[in-house]
């Protein structure tokens, strides 16, 4: 499409037009990066220079050691560990649950299939925020009977994160499985592959882009989740990064430089992961509605 345009658009005007577009593009890119650039500048500012009126655009020197001292100044390891535990296990749980459901739903027209799809779509629309009071009370109740999954446990956070990300993963994987011709699976089984063999060697590799997108998206969503963690994780030792960084905002003083070193440590990896799955995201997020 783009090649057709550039080939057909004539010779004279394009270079000026392209330069203008690039200029506009640079402005747009700068606008969206600006807060994160400020994050980086603040993270590299010596603590003594943070509180100056008027604010300085750049500090007199860059304090790279902030990225080292933050590990001593704040329980960053703990936050990082919690974020990892919650995000990794929520992602695994989503895959275990969504893969078979998506495969079966893509392959068979069973009774209740539409009801199941509807249920999945509705959960995708409901963020945990609207239900957080109910979620809290549910896990208080569960905790009375089964403390290992009650309020203030990793298990509760893993389960909630998995449940609210199940929908996206199911949708995107149903879409991928649907594109794999049944004939391909049949041919493999005629060649003597077992049912699991067919799944493992034919179906799953072909659906890999969908599975990777689901994995990364769930991981990032759980990594960034805030309101459920704020509500269910009450003791500081299970706080994930999102909740942890807000504790840098003390009553009298805010350690902005450490707050933003921690934020950057949380943000940079997920931005890279997000760029990896960019191509496949929109289809999954709009439930395949845009054809």
């Amino acid at each position: 499409m783009t090649t057709m345009r550039s080939a057909g658009a004539g010779v004279r005007a394009p270079s000026i037009k392209k330069a203008l577009l690039t200029g506009l593009g640079v402005l747009v890119a700068f606008f969206f990066m600006a807060p994160y650039i400020q994050m980086l500048i603040t993270a590299l500012t010596p603590g003594s220079e943070l509180y100056s009126v008027p604010a300085q655009y750049l500090p007199s020197r860059l304090e790279f050691s902030n990225f080292i001292t933050v590990w001593e100044e704040a329980p960053l390891w703990g936050y990082l560990r919690s974020s990892l535990i919650i995000a990794v296990f929520a992602t695994i749980l989503v895959l275990i649950v969504a893969l078979p459901a998506a495969y079966y739903t893509a392959r068979y027209r069973y009774r209740g299939r539409l009801v199941f799809l509807l249920l999945v779509l509705i959960t995708q629309m409901f963020a945990p925020t609207a239900l957080v009071i109910g979620i809290y009370r549910e896990f208080v109740t569960i905790g009375d009977v089964f403390p290992a999954a009650g309020v203030n446990t990793y298990l509760s956070l893993i389960i909630v994160n998995a449940a609210f990300n199940l929908a996206f993963s199911t949708w995107i994987m149903v879409a991928y499985f649907s594109t794999i011709p049944v004939e391909l699976e049949e041919a493999a089984s005629i060649d003597g592959a077992s049912r699991l063999g067919v799944l493992r060697r034919v179906t799953l590799p072909l659906a890999l882009p969908g599975i990777i997108t689901a994995t990364i998206f769930t991981f990032i969503a759980a990594w960034n989740e805030f309101v459920v963690a704020l509500t269910l994780a009450q003791s500081p030792d299970i706080h994930p990064l999102t909740v942890g960084v807000t504790t840098f905002i003390g009553q009298y003083r805010v350690e902005w430089q450490y707050l933003f070193t921690s934020s950057l440590i949380a943000i940079v990896p997920v931005v890279i992961l997000f760029i990896v799955i960019e191509k496949w995201l929109v289809g999954g997020l709009t439930a395949g509605s845009i054809k």
């Binding site: 690039t22 392959r107 299939r113 629309m125 009370r137 449940a163 067919v198």
Partner: protein
């Protein structure tokens, strides 16, 4: 689409032509496959929804114990609160302004990213950052930039000659704070919306434009009579998903003003949270949650009418 009225054992239904090989295992139908997913949805989405409804008509003590059925008294307290009309009006403004401005700007951004120019890929990556980054952290850096004394925004606006003092407590002034909150909400909503509209733009076949040009249509005509009508499905989907997200948006307000001063920058979502976890009035909070839930349900029903979900 075929209605799913067959028995679970009849898996050789229309689309997949033959039954994939299945040996030995007794046929339990779809349950072993979709059962775990159903369990998770019922346990963590439907149960809390039910629990919330139940709580909204119960008297709940400060320590969280249910003291029995209380009818609609939680709702009466909720609607009797003199702050509530202001909070509801603000929520309405919040959703309408943030979503409409987001859609409007995204239309332009999507067109920009749909055009070919050197560096386009990098611009698309820059746009991804606010989408991928934690919203709490993004909101927190805006809070720092808007700091009344030490914030960089005061410095920039002063240097541009737009304000005449270095000290402006943007977030402490309820009139101004809410505009900044909406600004940040728009900032974090733009990437997703732009990407959805971009996908919409890319699905429009180029030969339609060629044909229109042959017929003498100018660029503006093409946009008005081809692009916008064909973009309608993407616009609807982006608008409704945004309405739900913006209505639900909690971290921006929480990280920047906590709804304050007082409740002057609260929306119904942050109000619900404060009722439960600061004022410890769980019953009234559940009543607020039920109201919020109903609003979202309306958006969801709208969404289901708009999208072609049965195609999956």
């Amino acid at each position: 689409m075929t209605e799913a009225t067959r028995t679970p054992t009849d898996t050789s239904a229309p689309r997949p032509k033959a039954t994939p090989p299945r040996r030995r295992l007794p046929d339990l139908g779809p349950l072993p496959w979709i059962g775990p997913a159903l369990l998770l949805i019922i346990g963590v989405v439907l149960w809390p929804a039910f629990e919330m409804l139940r709580t909204s008509v119960m008297e709940i003590s400060v320590s969280g114990l249910a003291r029995g059925f209380t009818g609609l008294s939680n709702f009466e307290r909720l609607f009797g609160d003199p702050d509530l009309p202001g909070i509801m009006t603000r929520t309405l403004v919040w959703v309408l302004v943030v979503v409409s401005v987001t859609i409007f700007i995204s239309l332009g951004l999507a067109s920009l990213l749909n055009a070919a120019f050197p560096g386009r890929r990098l611009v698309r990556w820059a746009l991804i950052i606010p989408w991928a980054a934690s919203v709490v952290m993004t909101a927190t850096v805006w809070r720092w930039m808007l700091d009344g004394f030490y914030g960089i925004i005061n410095r920039i606006l002063f240097d541009l000659g737009l304000i005449d003092s270095f000290v402006n407590d943007w977030l402490g002034d309820p009139g101004v704070a809410f505009y900044w909150l909406m600004f940040v909400a728009i900032f974090v909503s733009l990437p997703f919306t732009t990407y959805v509209l971009l996908a919409g733009l890319q699905s429009i076949p180029q030969d339609i434009y060629e044909a229109a040009r042959v017929d003498g249509a100018t660029g503006r005509h093409s946009y008005r009579y081809i692009t916008l009508p064909l973009l309608r499905p993407a616009l609807l989907v982006a608008s409704i998903i945004n309405m739900i997200n913006v209505f639900n948006s909690f971290p921006i307000i929480w990280a920047m003003t906590k709804g304050g001063p007082g409740s002057l920058t609260d929306t119904t979502t942050t109000h619900m949270y404060k009722l439960a976890f600061q004022l410890l009035d769980v019953g009234q909070s559940a009543a607020m949650a039920v109201v919020n839930f109903s609003v979202i349900l309306v958006f969801v029903l709208l969404y289901l009418r708009v999208v072609d979900w049965r195609r999956a």
